[in-house]
Symmetry: C2
Subunit: 345 residues, 2 copies
């Protein structure tokens, strides 16, 4: 966990390194301290670097084969139910997700020895002996914490992402993936643009439906094994990702009061209704990473989704903060559910 | 440095905590693990959590009186030239800067005992015995690493910020500070909006002029003490902050190639000319934090600026990466210059 690895500023980099594709001679990318062979296809992402160690305690005993640390990115690779799994901290924010997704992409699909991109399934390989790469084999599930603007959602509840709303602008620098043009995602976007967020410019996408379903199934399976009093509540809905925690999520602090461009952001998000596919859906939660995770995964053909523990309730009808016990129980269940969904056969 | 502090999820938080102003009973804010009395008025900000320890080696020997760590935020407080200084890591991105600036604001101006905001100079105090707070006493200098789109700037050079261009959207959630309406900043914004960045929506502000000048003066003073061969080159210009490192800075990686909305971002920034105050100025560098630091500091009346070591050269006429020696020498000089400017009498 504490191997002090410094890929940049370290001895590896030199004037020969491509500043647009910075890879050390050892095969490390610029921010993630590992080589391709150290990263599993199934990946748990957490925001908090300290949480990588926590998730590690849920892996098969003695299974951890790799661990390293660089900046806010801690990484371990081990097994869950005998399936290889990597746990990676991203740090906070969609900008960090952009970094991690680009570097996961490099580590998965760039052939470091031959210095060229791997052929994908359906493409003609440059080398007839090369096994083509299936992008859908890469599965990423984020386990995080969040707040909610929705009075139906209580602290300690798990929010499982179906639709993704980007209040950040990270993915405005990337073309829309095909799924963003479907009627349901277009409706989510149109509804959001009718709120005050229309002033800022937002984007919409969705989690991989199979991942959303697997997370729900895993939660139901967990609840099937425990007493009614121990059941884990969950809520499936849209996840909004902010480009900050305070003003960017409608929290007006001290001298910033009266100086937010969207002061009623929380209330507006709590009031939203999407008639997506004839089932009314609402915003489940607000956090800081999911939008870029889903958007960039959709562009790459990877599978991605998010489950978060609700620790702050900020709805019109009630404001509260999770107790330590509520947060710890929710986080433990979120980790179990994410690992089960990720390693489903 | 390694005190394991967990303000949230720890025993401190409960249902009584205000989810819009989360402060533990001990007086910690939600992300920065310190109380008001543990934070000096003069603050060095670094992105990389590991760099806090490095800056600590430049402080007066034996002067460190506080150290803690939570998420990607490491903090130490000590002295430089006998003046109290706090060194804080923000993690990467403007979203993290938004968090840190809100929490520095809380720690500086919220009276935790009386649960109310402090009176500022020029305001009528609620309590006639209360000493009014001078916001300009808070000084923040960021020391970072960056790339450059400018063929005049070499790796190893220091980029000192005068104007700030936000390619992120973090500060779109906050009203413009007064300085953004001045003719020079308006010109920077107009020029940027004429590039392809007009598609995304950007913002412009500036560093505190006194901080920019103090950084230049400190660099000149340093150069006055060494041989010509040891002189530290520096370049004063506009700093562009991205909401990511790859596509958001014009790096097109693998499958993202052909799918960036602003593929020629680096070249366009390298070509920009501002005729600000009759002196032609150019973009000095691209990084990920300065825009929100300057914008939010301007709104709060705090003083802020940034000095970065150029480690990647991405101009039309030459592409290179700093060697470890170049990066280490530049970083060492940037730290010395920032500390001198910050503690100037």
């Amino acid at each position: 966990m504490s191997a002090a690895i410094e890929p940049h500023g370290g001895s590896g980099l030199s004037a020969e390194v491509d500043p647009d594709l910075p890879i050390t001679p050892e095969g490390f990318t610029y921010h993630i301290a590992c080589k391709s062979e150290d990263m599993a296809d199934r990946i748990i992402l957490v925001g908090d670097p300290g949480r990588v160690k926590v998730v590690g305690t849920y892996l098969d005993p003695g299974s951890i084969v790799y661990s390293a640390s660089h900046r806010e990115i801690n990484i371990i690779t081990g097994k869950y139910n005998d399936v290889p799994v990597t746990v990676l901290s991203t740090g906070m924010g969609t900008d960090n997700i952009e970094i991690v997704m680009n570097e996961v992409h490099i580590l998965k699909e760039y052939n470091m020895q031959k210095r060229r991109w791997r052929t994908r399934i359906g493409e003609t390989p440059a080398d007839p002996l090369e096994a083509p790469f299936d992008p859908s084999s890469v599965k990423l599930i984020r386990v995080g914490t969040c707040g909610t603007p929705n009075e139906e959602v209580q602290v300690g509840c798990l929010a499982i992402t179906q639709y993704a709303i980007g209040m950040d602008n990270t993915c405005q620098y990337y073309d829309n993936p095909a799924v963003n043009h479907t009627a349901d995602v277009q409706e989510v976007l149109a509804k959001i643009e009718q709120t005050s967020l229309g002033r800022v410019r937002v984007y919409a996408t969705k989690a991989t439906p199979a991942i959303t379903k697997d997370l729900v199934d895993a939660c139901e399976a967990l609840n099937g094994k425990v007493d009614a009093s121990e059941q884990q509540r969950y809520y499936v809905g849209a996840t909004c990702s902010g480009s900050g925690f305070y003003g960017c999520q409608g929290r007006s602090v001290g001298r910033f009061k009266g100086h937010l461009t969207i002061p009623h952001l929380t209330e507006e998000l709590g009031d939203l209704r999407f008639n997506v596919s004839e089932n009314e859906q609402r915003v489940a939660n607000i956090e800081m990473e999911n939008s870029a995770l889903c958007y960039l995964s959709n562009l790459l053909g990877y599978q991605a989704g998010t489950v978060c523990v609700v620790i702050a309730r900020r709805s019109r009808t009630g404001r509260s903060f999770a107790t330590s016990d509520q947060a710890a129980k929710g986080l433990s269940n979120a980790i179990k559910i994410a690992l089960e969904a990720l390693t489903k056969k």
